[in-house]
């Protein structure tokens, strides 16, 4: 079993400024009431230009991109929360926007910002969520208890979530999304705000869930997360998919993907010049007096050349670190900027 997802030419233009609801600002008289002056300079934000992609049944699929790339918007459209300006999103056999209830039955969603029901306790949130999806009382009890344990929330289970820490809310929000055992799980930056240990726990939980044949779609900023968790990736920027494939494919698609971080006792001009002319080196950047970053199309084979260059300039090589082609460098290659810019 398993549910595949198909996205066809999605385009989304936000034509109203973000509602106060989404931004936390207090102002929200609808445009009808705002003066004519404000109506004229309507802000149009193109969040998605034209996005098409397919996500296979039972796949862990990652959406990678810088802030404002359109990741959350894509997830929003797939989960009935954001209305596409044009294009189609198909989940299994249902058109998400024509058969919303059918689609909602299949999905679990972890939003970027926890949207927990603040009027309830952690346990109640899970219990009511199960009830919305028609689970019996017994089933709900068992499932919620198991999830609270899995996400280490048992000791706070009967407290109002208002007092939870950010990471606890995030954990509960993931537990809630899994409560009704959805066929497709959407996670918008699931590990944001989680401590490293919980992050690893979460990866394990996601892999486990995937083993049961469920499709998982997640967005992330973390290269290691995308690399180790996702079977396939799409890189999105300015509302367009700029590359997609397995992490391996994507990495091998870029030339000069190696990064050698070197450390010397000092870095004279002639050293950087000597490094620059080594074969396979595409760029040399020296920084803070003792460090040099060498971008090249090979790793280990360059070492002997580097050692020779160092001896030639009379400096000592103190430390070498070789970074294999990574999604970080891949990202730089495709967008011309680092993921954190």
């Amino acid at each position: 079993m398993g549910i595949a997802i198909r996205i066809e030419h999605l385009r989304k233009v936000y034509d109203s400024p973000p509602p106060s609801a989404a931004r936390g600002a207090g102002f929200s008289f609808t445009s009808v009431r705002s003066g004519p002056k404000q109506e004229k300079k309507k802000t149009e934000i193109v969040a998605l230009e034209d996005v098409s992609m397919e996500i296979g049944a039972g796949e862990i699929f990652g959406l990678l991109g810088p802030n404002g790339a359109g990741k959350s918007t894509t997830i929003g459209i797939l989960t009935t929360r954001t209305h596409p300006t044009s294009g189609r999103a198909i989940l299994g056999e249902y058109d998400v926007w024509k058969q919303q209830v059918k689609a909602k039955q299949l999905i679990g969603v972890v939003p970027q910002r926890p949207n927990l029901d603040f009027a309830l306790t952690a346990r109640e949130i899970l219990l009511f969520h199960g009830a919305y999806f028609g689970q019996s009382g017994r089933e709900r009890e068992q499932k919620s208890q198991a999830l609270l344990e899995k996400f280490k929330l048992t000791d706070r289970a009967d407290q109002m979530v208002r007092g939870f820490s950010g990471g606890m809310m995030q954990r509960l929000s993931i537990a809630r999304a899994m409560m009704h055992d959805p066929e497709v799980l959407f996670l918008d930056e699931p590990s944001a705000g989680l401590d490293p240990q919980t992050r690893l726990l979460l990866w394990e939980i996601i892999r486990d869930y995937n083993r049961a044949g469920k499709t998982i779609v997640l967005t992330t900023h973390y290269m290691d997360e995308a690399d180790s968790l996702c079977e396939r990736l799409a890189i999105i920027d300015h509302g367009r998919i700029i590359a997609q494939g397995t992490p391996q494919d994507l990495k091998s698609s870029i030339p000069g993907g190696y990064l050698l971080r070197l450390r010397f006792n000092r870095v004279p001009e002639e050293l950087t010049a000597a490094l620059q002319v080594l074969s396979g080196v595409s760029e040399v950047r020296s920084k803070d007096g003792t460090g040099v970053d060498v971008y090249a199309d090979r790793g280990g084979p360059l070492i002997s050349g580097i050692v020779t260059a160092a001896q030639g300039s009379g400096v000592d090589l103190c430390d070498v670190h070789i970074a294999e082609p990574s999604l970080e460098t891949l990202f730089l290659h495709h967008t011309g900027r680092s993921l954190r810019d």
Binding site: A21, F29, T80, K104, Y132, G134
Partner: protein, 256 residues
């Protein structure tokens, strides 16, 4: 339509409302009851108001209590839930059409409005002391009017709750709720506005007028009141308008 989901949503609202029952009742009933005490007891006992005023006032107080609690029961949580925390999202993702979630909110609000209305009768009676003269001779009409008033309050709450943000709650009270209460014919019968002809027709856009006059006509018919059939017709129309407006606003807010 997914009944299981609908009832689960209702249960959730019931659960939260029960948790806040006492503050909710105090919030919605204290002010009308203080008014009842001052005008229905202090003023009548001291002779500033005729004793009949008590029975005239009670249906009006009941109308105010119902409308206030219905509006607040729906509008206040909606305003917070649509704020940046988007608390409502969990329920928007429940397997049911978003419109039904709005309907569920209305039903939950109606229950609270009816509870408030039914609590007010004995409470106001106590506050005013002897001499209250109510007539429960038309239970069916009374029930119909109560249901329509409760629906109107909740649907109005839905519309308001989806139209304003948290910072405008104070404004809502001073610009919408306060004038509505003053010109809602709760403290005087509509026919007595005859001395102010323009005002008399202007207040007809105020939904509270029909609530007050309708309740007056069904439990204190000895006072002049707008004929109950007309009131029921007007309430049905208002209910329809507010429901349509509320659903439209709600669906607009539900997706971005």
């Amino acid at each position: 339509m997914n009944w299981k989901t609908f009832f689960a949503l209702l249960q959730r609202d019931g659960h939260v409302a029960r948790r806040n029952l006492l503050p909710m009742l105090l919030q919605n009933l204290l002010q009308p009851l203080l008014f009842t005490f001052v005008f229905g007891r202090v003023m009548t006992t001291s002779g500033l108001m005729p004793p009949e005023y008590k029975s005239m006032l009670l249906p009006g107080i009941m109308a105010i209590a119902m409308v206030l609690s219905g509006v607040q029961a729906v509008a206040m949580p909606l305003i917070t839930e649509f704020q940046f925390t988007r608390e409502i999202e969990d329920r928007l993702l429940a397997p049911i059409e978003t419109g039904w979630l709005a309907v569920e909110k209305i039903v939950a609000g109606m229950v609270q409005a009816l509870v408030a209305g039914l609590v007010v009768i004995p409470a106001a009676w106590l506050a005013m002391g002897s001499g209250v003269n109510l007539n429960f001779g038309h239970p069916l009409e009374f029930a119909v009017v109560c249901l329509l008033v409760a629906f109107m309050a909740s649907a109005g709450g839905l519309t308001l709750g989806c139209s304003i943000g948290q910072t405008q709650i104070g404004l809502m009270f001073s610009l919408v709720i306060a004038p509505m209460m003053m010109f809602g014919c709760a403290y005087y019968p509509w026919s007595k506005l005859a001395a102010f002809p323009i005002l008399q027709y202007a207040v007809l856009i105020n939904p509270l007028v029909y609530a007050s006059e309708g309740l007056r006509g069904t439990i204190a018919p000895q006072f002049p009141h707008i004929p109950t059939a007309i009131v029921i017709g007007a309430l049905v129309v208002l209910d329809g308008i507010l429901l349509a407006a509320g659903l439209k606003k709600f669906n607009g807010k539900a997706v971005s």
